[in-house]
């Protein structure tokens, strides 16, 4: 009989190593909207100044030292198939401004910019106007240690516009670094001369870098290896559409963006999204829909015809007319596509619209965050373009 002599030191060391790997897995498990991070994601920005709609972005450096940031706007406007200058909503049936016979082509256009934030510096801008110069530079006064902030933020590429913003902390060489110093908030405002003002705000979603894991001088960001992994599923607690809540009727819109994004080749990623719905009777329903790059949908539009025309919203599994209870819990999962080298993780934010007194009444909105469960087994990848020809 063959015997194996255990080396106690080695076996202890191996277990330590195994445990450390386990720890690394655990540490990657928490994308959060309440902790500073290396990547901040603002899933929904809206601009429509003619109708009094704009988004305020707040971005803050929480570190006691200056930080450099690269940011990427994604303009997810649709345009008419026969008129690329005409902006339309791919989520609506082909109506004006698209002419007869035309349809609304979804689009994704990326615009990037770079910033330097000084010690603990907060900045604010509107997406429509941007920020031509950061505060210290604009005032021509240095911060602590004689350091100036730097960079400028472009105005939105179109007006109206809908889309997202991702910002990544980088080093002086503009390559990503493993520091977690950024936090952010977005506030969508709708104002009118009536006068009325409706605001909804949410925290940017933070993806933390794993200290020591970020490959130096590399523009490929691997979520699940260098950064925290995206959640395996998102959990949405919501009112079913058309539910009466106090004196209002409520509808909910869900904004989803992919964790993976290729800002270099600008190739959008398509993901099939599975929805598993529970009502207050513990009854279970499910549906699915595919999304590419950016999706904003009223819940009742997920499993029915888009838009308001013959939409059959009342028979949606997200509608109180089907569910019979006021609230539900929906588990949202991006289906992994083995042919996709990048992952199919999702992030998002929820917008709730309360129409006071029913149809025709004023609408007030609020935003809140999706819950997250687990981590993706497949890594997600954010590919940055070179910051300069030298890269």
């Amino acid at each position: 009989m063959r015997t194996v002599k255990w080396n106690p030191f080695l076996s202890g060391a191996m277990m330590l190593l195994g445990g450390m790997l386990l720890w690394a897995g655990a540490a990657r498990a928490d994308i959060s909207s309440t902790n500073p991070a290396a990547i901040v994601v603002f899933p929904k920005l809206v601009v429509n100044t003619a109708n009094g709609v704009d988004t305020i972005i707040q971005l803050t450096n929480t570190a006691p030292n200056p930080v450099n940031v690269r940011c990427f706007y994604v303009d997810a406007n649709g345009h008419c198939s026969n008129n690329s200058a005409a902006i339309c909503d791919p989520g609506e049936p082909p109506t004006p401004p698209c002419e007869s016979g035309a349809y609304c082509q979804p689009g994704w256009v990326e615009t990037d910019f770079a910033l330097t934030l000084t010690t603990n510096q907060p900045i604010v801008w509107t997406v429509s106007a941007g920020l031509p110069a950061l505060p210290l530079t604009a005032e021509q006064r240095p911060g602590i240690g004689g350091v100036f902030d730097g960079g400028s933020i472009p105005q939105s590429s179109e007006d109206p516009m809908i889309g997202e913003l991702k910002c990544v902390e980088v080093g002086a060489d503009e390559f990503p670094v493993d520091s977690n110093d950024l936090k952010g908030e977005a506030t969508i405002e709708i104002v009118s001369s009536t006068p009325t003002v409706d605001i909804e705000g949410y925290n940017a979603i933070g993806i933390q870098a794993i200290p020591g894991a970020v490959t130096p001088q590399d523009n490929t960001l691997i979520l699940g290896q260098e950064y925290n992994a995206c959640p395996a599923s998102l959990i949405l607690d919501h009112f079913f559409d058309d539910a009466p809540v106090l004196d209002s009727t409520v509808r909910t819109a869900l904004t989803l963006v992919p964790c993976s994004e290729d800002f270099n080749t600008q190739l959008p990623i398509t993901t099939v999204v599975q929805f598993l719905v529970y009502n207050e009777y513990e009854q279970r329903f499910s549906t699915s829909r595919s999304m590419t790059c950016f999706a904003e949908l009223f819940l009742s539009d997920i499993d029915t015809r888009l838009g308001d025309l013959n939409d059959n919203d009342a028979v949606s599994i997200f509608n109180i007319g089907t569910e019979g209870t006021l609230t539900g819990q929906t588990v949202i999962r991006g289906v992994a596509n083995p042919t996709n080298p990048a992952g199919n993780g999702l992030l998002g934010v929820v917008h709730e619209f309360h129409q006071l007194g029913g149809p025709g009444g004023p609408i007030y909105s609020a935003a809140y965050m999706l819950d997250m469960r687990g981590t993706r087994t497949q890594n997600d990848v954010i590919q940055l373009p070179p910051a300069s020809p030298a890269q």
């Binding site: 255990w6 106690p8 076996s11 060391a13 277990m15 330590l16 445990g19 386990l22 720890w23 655990a26 928490d30 959060s32 909207s33 309440t34 902790n35 500073p36 009094g52 704009d54 305020i56 707040q58 803050t60 929480t62 000084t118 010690t119 603990n120 510096q121 907060p122 509107t126 106007a129 505060p135 911060g143 602590i144 936090k183 908030e185 506030t187 405002e189 104002v191 001369s193 006068p195 003002v197 909804e200 705000g201 959990i235 607690d237 009112f239 106090l246 207050e280 513990e282 109180i320 019979g324 209870t325 006021l326 309360h354 009444g361 609020a366 935003a367 965050m369 819950d371 997250m372 469960r373």
Partner: protein, 389 residues
């Protein structure tokens, strides 16, 4: 020479235990607003005739879940006259009165109630009515209430458990149009919503009463600092300013931003009804990196517009001089080393007028947080449940 024979199994176990200990601390080092938890905190709940609050709680597991919930009434009252008062001071303090109730949720069940009416058991609820769904138990109505709600996951005997099955949201709904001062402005129907703050428990331990927020051994600790990004109080709203300049809004349109901050101590003694007081320090940076500081004491519950904190008006636009600022909020230890963690939320209020008609909009945000707070005396935050729980 003496030799020691290593026990391979034991050395494995020790190595693993050391690392697991590290995991326990690092993986459970924070409160959360996005993952299931064993303790849910809704820092701001109003049912005072001006606002009502709709509470949503969901069971994330496939098991039956029980929770014991505690309303803490933080309505301000004068210590001499016992009449309601406005701004917190030495003689205007929160009532700090607790009311509790139990709820139970079947697998994956969501539920809801409005705080003013609670939720009663209806044997045969109408399809689509407010009481449709499995009744989560009797939730009492409360009136004239401004305060917090804490819910703690328990087993069917009422003993606390740490399975981290709960999540929640609160929707603050305005019931009246009020043209007040600072943040006391709202219009009927306006809504603001935030995620409940979750404190995760260590699923490998059976907690005992009081519940210890000890950094992960039993429950996660509260944060060592909260970070509030806010507009300078009284600063003009930049969207309104830009739309007025571009002619979309009338030229006489004016606006102002305010921030209503709510903080609650993590420590609660529901058995002895002893309110917890925590002194907090505010360190504020404006857009020019200029630094300011002030402090206040949170006793049981604090809800106030930022300019009511301290005496220097340092949250005001006139002092800060920039549209936004970053405030870092940290608990201060007393001379005996005692202190405590806090959690909270912020509500941003944008007011606007065309010269004759005032209006306002509100939005709620969860505060950012960093670190795990264990006071210098080593006594972690704790939640003491009534003895019969």
């Amino acid at each position: 020479m003496r030799t020691v024979k290593w026990n391979a199994f034991l050395s494995c176990l020790c190595g693993f235990a050391v690392v697991l200990g590290g995991v326990a601390i690092s993986a459970r080092a924070d409160v959360t607003t996005e993952t299931g938890a064993s303790i849910l905190i809704f820092p701001k709940v109003r049912a005072d005739g001006i606002f009502d609050t709709v509470i949503q709680i969901a069971n994330l597991s496939n098991n039956m879940v029980y929770a014991q919930c505690f309303y803490v009434n933080g309505t301000l009252q004068n210590t001499n006259t016992h009449l309601p008062c406005g701004v917190p001071s030495a003689t205007c303090v929160p009532l700090c009165q607790e009311t509790d109730f139990g709820i139970y949720l079947t697998k994956q069940q969501p539920t809801h109630w409005s705080v003013s009416t609670g939720r009663t058991f209806t044997p045969s609820p109408t399809f689509g009515s407010d009481t449709s769904g499995f009744a989560p138990g009797a939730v009492p109505p409360v009136g004239d209430f401004v305060g917090e709600l804490k819910c703690i996951e328990v087993d069917d005997s009422g003993a606390p458990i740490t399975r981290n099955d709960l999540k929640g949201e609160a929707t603050l709904v305005s019931l009246a149009t009020i043209d007040g001062t600072l943040s006391d402005q709202t219009v009927t129907g306006d809504v603001a919503k935030y995620n409940a703050i979750g404190i995760q428990g260590n699923p490998d331990v059976a907690p005992s009463n009081p519940l210890l927020l000890d950094g992960g051994a039993t429950y996660n600790a509260c944060p060592s600092e909260l970070i509030l990004n806010h507009f300078a109080s009284g600063a003009p709203d930049i969207v309104v300013t830009e739309l007025t300049a571009s002619g979309i809004l009338p030229p006489d349109t004016t606006s102002a931003e305010y921030t209503d901050l709510t903080l609650v101590p993590c420590t609660e003694d529901f058995e002895n009804q002893i309110p917890k007081s925590v002194t907090v320090q505010f360190l504020i940076y404006n857009e020019f990196e200029e630094q300011y500081s002030t402090s206040t004491t949170v006793s049981c519950f604090l809800e106030t517009e930022l300019t009511n904190i301290g005496s220097g008006q340092i949250f005001g636009y006139g002092v800060l001089g920039t549209d936004v600022a970053q405030a870092i909020i940290t608990p201060v230890a007393q001379t005996n080393g005692s202190s405590g963690g806090l959690v909270g939320i912020a509500e941003r209020i944008t007011t606007m007028t065309d010269g004759t008609t005032p209006t306002a909009g509100r939005a709620a945000y969860n505060l950012h947080s960093e670190g795990s707070y264990i006071p210098p005396n080593g006594q972690p935050d704790s939640i003491t449940l009534p003895a019969e729980q």
